[in-house]
């Protein structure tokens, strides 16, 4: 870590805002306030933000730390949602079963497709991850037992030992925020542990990392599968919130949207993806309410961020990583 120049007040404020925990604590406060003032709209919005933040965070991990630009992250996200639908039809609704199943389902998709995709680099990796995601899209579109193209409603929200705890929107919000916090904590640890160092080293200098004796392929595959698993959990939460699962969840637009979130928040910091996701959700909600051309507004914001390097506000306070 570089020496921190004695930070100004503004710098300190920015540092606190950029801290990984701040955004999550912020979401929790919104839920508390929404409960106190009876504004259920805000609970729903915070839940949606937490879910997309979890998906973006998982992508931000492979994209930022691993340098792997996956353009197919909507696939594990959608698969997680389908796990909830399919398991629900089979009578499995307990949250302690659904969350691991969503992780495993998405990971099971990512392991073989990742093993093939990771044999390519750069633009080819982008294209092949997109291709696998489109394949998943069409496979699920063809599942007529689960609604085919149109999708299908889930049986009902998850339970905890038979108790229908998540009928209450606030409880679902706590579940989403809690899982976001847990995954953040895990990935934060990983970034600073051996695994994260090898992953970043391979991003910066693949030949060197291999020559030191590390298996770059295996390292990247594990990161890719982990990220997919966490995206699967996010997808399961999305199914819980909307109560509806369709192939549209794994549309390539969503893969692009997740990349936008990561880039918007800054890919070098894990917290960037979380901030980016919250920003996109807010823009979508409020700009979308005023004009149907809200995506133009989002585009302008992205341009401003990228051009102005606002995403690297952290530099101002001498923070890295």
């Amino acid at each position: 870590m570089t020496a921190t120049p004695s930070p100004t007040l503004a710098g300190r404020v920015v540092a606190v805002l950029l801290h990984p925990a701040s955004a999550i604590v912020g979401l929790a406060l919104v839920v508390v306030a929404a409960q106190v003032f009876g504004q259920s709209f805000w609970t729903t919005l915070a839940t949606r933000a937490a879910i997309l933040a979890l998906a973006a965070l998982s992508l931000g991990f492979v994209l930022g730390q691993g340098g792997l630009v996956s353009f197919g992250h909507a696939a594990p996200f959608g698969i997680g949602a389908y796990v909830v639908l399919i398991a629900g039809e089979a009578g499995i609704r307990d949250v302690f079963a659904l969350v691991p199943l969503a992780f495993l389902g998405a990971a099971a998709f990512a392991a073989p497709t990742g093993a093939l995709a990771l044999r390519t680099r750069g633009v080819y990796f982008i294209m092949i991850t997109l291709a696998f995601a489109q394949m998943a899209y069409f496979v699920f579109s063809a599942l007529s037992a689960y609604g085919g193209d149109d999708g299908m409603s889930i049986v009902g929200r998850a339970t905890v030992f038979g108790v229908k705890l998540f009928r209450n929107d606030a409880n679902l919000a706590w579940l989403a925020i809690g899982l976001l916090a847990a995954v953040s904590l895990f990935l934060h640890g990983t970034v600073h542990a051996r695994f994260g160092h090898v992953l970043r080293a391979a991003r910066d200098n693949e030949a060197r990392t291999a020559a030191l004796g590390f298996s770059v392929f295996r390292t990247r595959l594990v990161a890719h599968v982990l990220a997919a698993g966490f995206a699967g959990i996010a997808g399961a939460l999305m199914a819980e919130q909307t109560g509806f699962v369709s192939p549209a969840l794994m549309n390539w637009h969503r893969s692009g949207e997740l990349i936008v979130m990561v880039v918007l928040g800054g890919s070098r910091r894990l917290s960037g993806a979380v901030l980016g996701a919250i920003a996109v959700v807010l823009v979508e909600e409020f700009l979308g309410a005023t004009t149907e051309y809200w995506k133009l507004g989002l585009g302008l914001i992205i341009l401003a961020v990228v051009a102005g390097r606002v995403a690297d506000l952290g530099r101002l306070v001498g923070r890295r990583g």
Partner: protein, 250 residues
């Protein structure tokens, strides 16, 4: 001499019609510093690639530490104890000097698939890394980003990354390329201090370094071994003098 650490057996490699490795056989003894010299285009880099595992030979075998490694890739050979110092400075620019060496130490210290314990808290690795940095003269430069180090310092850092792995063999591809006179002498003495401890194959243009370090020298000309011998034998060889040391043919 005991079992050689490295044995190249009849290596052949061609790119189209161009023969770059022409039935190359070569041995590096368990305690030997072996130098590989030859004019530009003699096929030295291709040979280094075949030893490291980044280039597959068309024919022949590579044996390392008593094992046939011909079919193994770079990272597996590295795990067997083959450490490499590249021709161009090859460090992780975004890591500090200490993190570069710590990363190298991690590679030979159990699994790298650890997700919880911060690397910075792994005391033993940190101590070993700091010691390796001290040995190559980089004490006090631990927290500098590797990308910001001077060229000579990067070369020293690479050497520290090799040494911290306690390798069974060092493969050095022009370690003195681009370093100043003083730096070259310092690095040469550093390598000389490892004589008898770690066997090496060193590809180098700087003849002072070669004659100072090498027990034996192999001259590669046109992809083929022209001669292998001691420094005196090489100096005396007419063929070498004409082809390489720049003497005019009579």
């Amino acid at each position: 001499m005991s079992e050689p650490i490295l044995r190249l057996d009849d290596l052949q490699k061609r790119y189209g019609a161009l023969v770059v490795s022409d039935h190359v056989s070569l041995e590096v003894g368990a305690r030997e510093i072996h130098a590989l010299i030859g004019p530009n285009g003699a096929g030295k880099s291709t040979l280094v690639g075949q030893i490291a595992g980044s280039i597959r030979p068309d024919g022949g075998r590579v044996a390392f530490a008593g094992r046939d490694v011909t079919g193994m890739g770079v990272s597996r050979r590295a795990r067997l104890g083959l450490a490499q110092v590249f021709q161009t400075s090859n460090v992780i620019g975004g890591f500090t000097a200490l993190d570069n060496v710590r990363l190298a130490a991690t590679a030979t210290d159990g699994s790298s698939f650890r997700f919880f314990r911060p690397l910075a808290a792994e005391r033993r690795l940190g101590d070993r890394a700091a010691a390796a940095l001290g040995r190559v003269g980089l004490a006090g430069r631990e927290t500098v980003l590797a990308g910001a180090l001077a060229h000579g310092e990067k070369r020293a850092l690479e050497l520290a990354m090799g040494l911290v792995q306690e390798p069974r063999f060092l493969l050095l591809d022009e370690p003195m390329a681009g370093t100043g006179r003083e730096e070259t002498e310092r690095l040469t003495e550093l390598l000389a201090s490892l004589d008898g401890e770690i066997p090496m194959l060193i590809v180098e243009h700087d003849m002072a370094t070669v004659f100072r370090l090498a027990h034996r020298i192999t001259v590669l000309i046109g992809g083929a071994v022209a001669i292998t011998g001691t420094a005196d034998e090489i100096r005396a060889d007419r063929q070498v003098r004409i082809a390489y040391l720049g003497e005019e043919a009579p």
